[in-house]
């Protein structure tokens, strides 16, 4: 056999050795739905679709790189990444630029970044690393310290204010602690405590956040402001019916009734044009994505990789559930994008980095067992 051919074959095989095909196929299918919907939301314009494809290309390349990293290397990044995240969040407080009354962006001369975004990954990494350190001696106080590690960035982000991101980061951290075996007694106690503290928390919320919750209960109370988004999105979904109005035919979308239609509210666009059928397919794809992630977690060899993979799966669930729930009117409006569907480079990178981590955990599991 031609030795060159063998060599090429070898490299080809090696380059895809770390790709998990079921996971990748599901992600690409959802991404494809996203591309089509972005195209429709921008009235068939190609600009956004193309730039989203470019973002996706970059994100997938990053996924491929991360999939090749062995988990111990990932573990080593946990503490520096977390500390950097905290420093940047504090920096936002001091130097951040205010846009729309929220201080979320940090100017870096040539560009600006949202440090809260990196916490979505740094948070579970850090906690998974932490539990791995104390695997053999785990006591209640370790859970308490983990909760502290979670609360500091959560408070910093919630104070910006960016409730959407704070909830995602908080959820990610909670999943790690939950999967690490936080006793049920404490979970129940926490739930009771939260319930009884609700009136107090209500006072802590910003006016616009309270308004969003109130309009959820009765959207018609504020048809021009916060309620407008919910009403129009619900009309879009409801008018889609079982089979949808057809691709590029959503009148709610194309007559500009849906706000943020290529970003946070993109699900309304999809739902109007593809109907209940489309919704079921999309939900099934998300379920498969989550299931595959949790399967990887179940097969993972170390505590660190188990916790990380399980958390990522549940984070995917949170993203999808919070976004779709908000657009269809059963959850309050918080700024959470629909994973792999909403337009936006940062969110795509975050998701594909998570997928890369899952692939790294899965493809290196045998190596670690030895």
């Amino acid at each position: 056999m031609n030795p060159w051919f063998g060599k090429i074959q070898h490299y080809a095989r090696q380059s895809i050795a770390h790709i998990d095909f079921p996971l990748f196929a599901i992600a690409l299918a959802i991404l494809g739905i996203g591309m089509l919907t972005i195209n429709s939301a921008t009235h068939g314009g190609v600009d956004r679709t193309l730039s989203n494809a470019m973002h996706a290309g970059f994100a997938i390349a990053l996924m491929w790189l991360i999939a090749r990293l062995p988990p111990p290397k990932l573990m080593r990044t946990a503490v520096p990444l977390y500390l950097l995240g905290i420093v940047l969040l504090v920096a936002v407080f001091i130097f951040g630029i205010k846009i729309n009354g929220a201080r979320r962006w940090l100017p870096l001369g040539f560009t600006r970044v949202q440090p809260a975004e990196m916490m979505k990954i740094a948070m579970p990494l850090m906690l998974a690393w932490y539990f791995q350190q104390y695997e053999a001696v785990l006591k209640l106080r370790h859970y308490a310290f983990a909760a502290l590690l979670l609360l500091v960035p959560f408070a910093l982000i919630a104070k910006q204010p960016d409730l959407g991101t704070a909830i995602l980061v908080g959820a990610a951290g909670f999943y790690v602690i939950f999967l690490a075996g936080l006793p049920w007694k404490i979970i129940v106690a926490l739930l009771v405590a939260c319930g009884s503290a609700a009136p107090f928390l209500w006072n802590l919320l910003h006016d616009y956040q309270r308004k969003r919750i109130l309009t959820l209960i009765d959207p018609t109370s504020d048809p021009l402001g916060a309620g407008y988004h919910i009403i129009q999105a619900t009309i879009a979904i409801g008018s889609g019916g079982i089979f949808g109005k057809g691709y590029l035919n959503g009148t709610q979308t194309h007559l500009e009734f849906i706000p943020e239609k290529h970003t946070d509210f993109i699900f309304a666009v999809f739902s109007e044009e593809w109907g209940l059928l489309g919704n079921s397919v999309l939900l099934a794809l998300y379920f498969l994505l989550i299931l595959r992630s949790l399967m990887i977690a179940a097969a993972a060899p170390t505590l660190f990789s188990r916790l990380l993979a399980g958390t990522i799966g549940l984070v995917f669930f949170t993203y999808a559930f919070v976004n779709i729930g908000m657009v269809s009117g059963i959850l309050p409006v918080v700024g959470v994008p629909l994973p792999l569907v909403s337009y936006g480079g940062t969110a795509l990178v975050t998701i594909f980095v998570c997928i890369g981590i899952l692939m790294s955990i899965h493809s290196h599991r045998m190596m670690l067992k030895k």
Binding site: G181, G238, S239
Partner: protein
């Protein structure tokens, strides 16, 4: 808590929690699915009807922009209503055919079509977009007769910005133009997106930009019901817009006009300030441009013409040009010497006509020198040698420290443009400045020889005309500093309440009154018996001044002969002045690019401005430029290399 540490049980519990999570995910997704079935199956008919028949659209109503008037109430920027022919693309089947048919009724130029295309790309598709602006009455009538043929086309009245004075004060006013990406970024930074929904124009430069958020007003909203085609069926609720606030300036347009005309077709700048308030009375940069060209989107040809013009009419020479001040720097140098105790007024030097330092000869303008020169004479006859010696004695950092308090080399904070981008800093040379400015260590060192030409306003010195005017006003006002500003008050459109801008003294430099008095006296001497005497002969008021000539081109030791040099290599002419001397009402700085000697071309402009402002005299005969100015009026020539 033994079970925490048993690896087998640990894994088992982890798996159990994964299963538990999966069940939660399934339940949550089922809830979503149930919600979809509720909306898309059970309530589908209801929502379908709502989507198809009853769409409520919220249409922003942009407010009227505030107007700008001068100190006497003369309108400088206003709005006028004009008819536009507009098309709603979603209601027209064949756009091209429709536009072709319309062009038979009203003139539609290729540039109108181009603009229409551009606007269509930006707009939402149920909005109407202008294909022609400013229809004549005849065109409106002609279209009205044929209206039935054009569904989706209508005549609307829109407001346009107009600058009735044309080019006068254009560099102060600035202009508005269509909102561009850069403007959107600015609006977002300020968190004002909501108020700009429906706004098409925004201040791009000058006052129009600086006071954008005052002038803009508050956008109103109309809730309308629209049908499936996107056409408004009826109005449900209307929140009217609130007109923007009006600006009243300190600027006097008549004075401004006289000053601009005094420049003729020469390039230059003039800034006149009321010393006791910092209010700008005139702000000239010639040539000017017609801001009306920009309002509706400037055509490529006009833009090219303005940009490629060799005289650069778009450059604001008063704020953005940095020029060496030449001899107009001398009174400030003299004041620095008095205040720092380096000189007493009657200390005199003997001027041989040159100053030798480190092997270089720095020449005076007068061959043979001015003889014995004290401080008074040094200002009146503009003796260079006196200032060569003085600068050398003071040292560059002492000079810089004093000049900094006068505002040299810093932005004045005038209310033009945004984020301080409307004006330049200029250069106030010092050892620290040079270190920062240059990279190579051998260039970073300050040489004592470089201080000497700084003394006569040459060398690295470079200031804007407004800095020079501001420093003059500060001297006129005995060291009490005001921020230069153009707006006297803002009138709230809703309450009619007037909000005054400034004038509160920024700081008092606490100069010795005798020192200021001495400098003012010497500057008065310039206009009565010195280099400004010819230009101010017969003035019916007292005035103080100082001429200046700034080198553009270095002559190697030779004598300066204006006629022998190409125009753009000729020196810049400068003049600073204030009047009346005892109670100054106006202070100014004039610069004529490549005007030659300050006494010859800049001083007569100052005379015309002061004649009008103090004595109410209109130009014409009285202060004509003297064509035969003699060589004896000539000033310094700067350092010979």
């Amino acid at each position: 808590m033994g079970d925490f540490h048993d690896p087998e049980r640990h894994t088992e519990r982890f798996r159990f929690r994964l299963v538990f999570s999966t069940i939660v995910v399934l339940l949550a997704f089922s809830a979503l699915l149930a919600r979809f079935i509720w909306l898309q199956v059970v309530q589908h008919d209801y929502y379908r009807t709502r989507a198809e028949d009853n769409r409520i659209s919220i249409v922003p109503i942009p407010p009227n922009r505030g107007i700008i008037v001068d100190s006497k109430g003369v309108v400088m920027a206003r709005n006028y209503s004009a008819f536009t022919l507009e098309i709603t693309p979603s209601r027209v089947d064949h756009l091209e055919t429709t536009i072709d048919a319309l062009s038979a009724l009203v003139d539609i130029h290729p540039k109108d079509r181009k603009r229409f295309k551009r606007l269509m790309d930006e707009a939402r598709n149920f909005e109407s977009i202008p294909i022609r602006t400013r229809l004549s009455d005849e065109e409106v009538a002609r279209f009205a007769a044929h209206r039935y043929r054009f569904p989706g086309v209508e005549v609307k009245a829109r407001l346009f910005r107009q600058y009735p004075l044309g080019g006068i004060a254009s560099h102060a006013l600035g202009y508005i133009g269509r909102v561009a990406d850069r403007d959107v970024e600015w609006i977002q930074e300020e968190g004002r997106e909501a108020n700009y929904r429906g706004t098409e124009h925004i201040g791009k430069t000058g006052l129009e930009q600086h006071y954008e958020f005052e002038l803009h007003g508050e956008t109103g909203y109309e809730e309308v019901e629209i049908d499936a085609g996107g056409r408004a069926v009826r109005s449900l609720k209307r929140t009217p817009p609130v007109t923007g606030n009006n600006l009243t300036l300190t600027l006097d347009t008549k004075l401004q006009e006289i000053a601009e005309q005094a420049f003729g077709n020469r390039r230059g700048a003039l800034v006149a300030i009321e010393p006791s308030t910092g209010g700008i009375l005139a702000l000239v940069s010639t040539p000017n441009y017609d801001p009306n060209l920009f309002v509706d989107g400037i055509t490529t040809e006009s833009w090219k013409e303005l940009n490629d013009h060799p005289d650069k009419p778009m450059v604001n020479r008063a704020l953005n040009g940095a020029y060496p001040p030449g001899s107009t720097f001398k009174p400030f140098m003299a004041l620095a010497a008095l205040e720092t105790g380096k000189r007493r007024p009657h200390q005199a030097i003997s001027d041989p006509g040159y100053f030798n330092f480190g092997g270089h000869t720095f020449r005076d303008d007068k061959k043979g020198g001015h003889g014995m020169v004290d401080m008074y004479k040094s200002i009146v006859v503009s003796c260079d040698t006196y200032y060569y010696v003085l600068a050398n004695d003071m040292g560059i950092d002492n000079i810089a420290r004093f000049m900094e308090t006068l505002g040299f080399g810093q932005k004045t904070g005038i209310d033009i443009g945004i984020k301080g981008m409307g004006e330049s800093e200029g250069v106030l040379p010092s050892t620290a400045w040079k270190k920062k400015r240059f990279k190579k260590p051998e260039q970073q060192k300050w040489y004592a020889g470089e201080t000497i030409s700084v003394g006569i306003g040459q060398g690295y010195n470079a200031y804007t005309v407004i800095q020079l005017a501001q420093a003059t006003a500060t001297v006129a006002n005995n060291g009490v500093v005001f921020r230069p500003h153009l707006v006297r008050h803002i009138t709230d459109a809703r309450t009619g309440e007037k909000r005054h801008i400034e004038p509160q003294p920024l700081k008092n430099l606490n100069w010795n009154p005798e020192h200021v008095e001495f400098i003012k006296n010497a500057m008065q001497g310039v206009n009565t018996s010195g280099t400004g005497a010819r230009a101010f002969a017969g003035a019916p008021y007292t005035s103080a001044g100082k001429t200046g000539t700034a080198q553009v081109f270095s002559l190697k030791g030779g004598a300066y002969k204006a006629s022998a040099l190409k125009e753009h290599l000729r020196d810049h002419a400068l003049f600073i002045a204030f009047a009346p001397v005892d109670k100054p009402k106006i202070a100014l700085a004039v610069l004529v690019e490549n005007g030659g000697f300050g006494a010859q071309s800049a001083a007569p402009i100052a005379r015309m401005v002061l004649d009008y402002y103090i004595a109410g005299k209109l130009p014409g005969g009285a202060a004509k430029e003297d064509e035969e100015a003699k060589e004896s009026d000539a000033e310094e020539e700067g350092d010979a290399q």
